[in-house]
């Protein structure tokens, strides 16, 4: 178990990829004014987070990073679409606002599923899963390199920030803009240098364009197949049956 990311999944990465793709496909297939029928789909991230003991803070932090982009996508909808589509008790909501809320919800669902995918399985195993699913090796290797480069960039940035803070007289100092800009420049140069050295280390150990992992994947129909089938069934149900409608009808009838 990784304390920072919770329990790692024993599910085959191919099953995880299939479920994630199916989830994103389901989420994006809803109409632009759909809100209530999206709500059952929140069960997937909630169940995965709870089952694998993932830290909500970590998940929340990562979602916050992409939130501005999500908001930006739907920002102009309320301006351009002012037609009232929802009226209740003298209060009306324009189509723009409904579609904006729908975009935000769908984006949050899609982004959280992608984050969960990376949190519950090591990235290299996910890449191996992609390779086994016949995704071109060139693409998979590029993904692996990109992942390593980002980790490397993060490590170098942390070192530089620590070095800066240690030479500042105040606790948790702010980095002035002119210093930050020069730090970003040297960060990129340092990251490229380190990436070059790592590439050399790979070359001297016989790297030929393929990263060969030693832990083979084993797809178990009982475990992985049923995992994918159960979630797939739930997604289909959520897409084609109005679960919130049925539930509210049932509650009102009682």
């Amino acid at each position: 178990m990784n304390p920072s990311t919770g329990r790692q999944s024993g599910i085959d990465p191919r099953a995880l990829w299939i479920v994630t793709f199916a989830f994103i496909l389901t989420v994006t297939s809803f109409g632009k004014y759909e809100i209530s029928r999206l709500t059952p789909l929140f069960l997937y991230p909630v169940a995965m987070t709870a089952f694998y003991g993932l830290p909500l803070k970590e998940l929340g932090k990562r979602i916050l990073l992409v939130l501005p982009f999500i908001l930006l996508v739907g920002l102009f909808n309320p301006v351009f679409d002012r037609r009232a589509v929802l009226e209740a008790g003298g209060f009306s909501l324009s189509g723009g606002w409904v579609s904006f809320i729908s975009i935000v919800l769908r984006s949050l669902l899609a982004v959280s599923s992608a984050i969960l995918l990376v949190l519950v399985s090591p990235f290299d195993r996910l890449c191996l899963g992609l390779e086994k699913m016949r995704v071109p090796r060139v693409l998979v290797t590029q993904l692996q390199f990109l992942h390593r480069y980002l980790l490397l960039l993060k490590g170098e940035a942390q070192r530089m920030i620590r070095a800066h803070h240690l030479r500042c007289p105040v606790n948790r100092p702010k980095i002035p803009m002119e210093v930050a800009s020069s730090m970003i420049g040297s960060l990129l140069l340092r990251a490229v240098d380190r990436a070059t050295r790592i590439h050399w280390a790979m070359l001297v150990r016989g790297f030929d364009g393929e990263i060969r992992l030693q832990r083979p994947l084993s797809f178990s129909w009982a475990r992985d197949g049923s995992f994918a089938a159960a979630w797939g069934l739930f997604f289909l149900l959520s897409r084609f049956v109005d679960l919130p409608g049925i539930l509210s009808g049932w509650v009102l009838a009682r």
Binding site: P122, F123, D124, R148, L151, G155, R194, R197, I198, W200, A201, M202, L203, V204, R205, G206, F207, D208, I211, R212, L213, Q214, R215, P216
Partner: protein, 246 residues
């Protein structure tokens, strides 16, 4: 057997900024020989090793590894024979777990998974890091990283071992284990280091680099006994010799 020799003739290298790092170096290591490369910071030790592995293109000269002249077409062949340990273990470790990192080289040699696994276990046992096999490489301490980095090289069973500062970051027990390993390794060894005591114990012959030039090449004890040479090259006697009269 003479196929594990290493010969360098008139090797030169100039960095893109114009700094001459190597200036016409020539030497030869015979099969099974253990040679230390010493010199002050910036003397050209690391650059020399990088040039031997074909990681930087020399501006002149020849590198001959066991009869194969190092060039663009032969660099793969040379690297199969040569195990290279980098100065910074963070450069050497790039896989998610220690096991995968040590297995990276043997897997690229086309060995079966069982053979790879055996090699990994043996190499990790040799460096005293078998307990780290399932750990994440980037979460190890500096000394543990160094031990695992050495294992990544040993697992490939190289004919020629080229190491850049192999003892840096190791605790005394780890260093002692490394000395034992290097002493047991029967093939050709080239060790660039500031750890002169390690050189005294492992390498009967020493090459001294100074400002990119070959300042001296000879028996280790004789080199470290030459006070004038050591002072010129910004070195000092190993601790084990400091009690001896100058």
């Amino acid at each position: 057997m003479s196929h594990h020799f290493l010969e360098v003739q008139d090797l030169s290298y100039t960095y893109p900024d114009g700094t001459e790092a190597l200036k016409g170096l020539s030497f030869r290591l015979e099969h099974g020989e253990a040679v230390g490369v010493v010199g002050a910071n910036g003397a050209g030790k690391s650059t020399l090793l990088l040039a031997l592995a074909g990681l930087v293109d020399p501006s002149g000269g020849i590198v001959n590894v066991g009869g194969t002249i190092l060039g663009k077409k032969t660099v793969g062949e040379v690297r199969k024979r040569m195990g290279f340990l980098f100065q910074d273990p963070d450069d050497q470790l790039f896989m998610p777990t220690v096991f995968e990192d040590v297995a990276f080289g043997p897997a690229n040699q086309g060995l079966s998974p069982e053979e790879v696994s055996n090699r990994v276990r043996q190499a990790l046992e040799d460096v005293g890091a078998i307990g780290l096999a399932e750990r994440q490489s980037h979460r190890l301490s500096g000394g543990q990283k160094r031990s695992v980095a050495i294992a990544t090289v040993l697992s490939m069973l190289p004919d020629i071992l080229v190491m850049d500062e192999p003892s840096s970051g190791l605790d005394p027990k780890g260093r002692r284990r490394l000395i034992g390993l290097l002493a047991r390794f029967t093939h050709t060894r080239l060790v660039a280091t500031h750890d002169l005591d390690l050189v005294m114990e492992v390498c009967p012959r020493t090459i001294v680099l100074h400002e990119g030039c070959l300042a001296a090449d000879g028996p280790t004890r004789k080199i470290f006994g030459d006070q004038k040479l050591l002072e010129t090259c910004h070195l000092e006697r190993p601790l084990c010799m400091q009690g001896e009269c100058r």
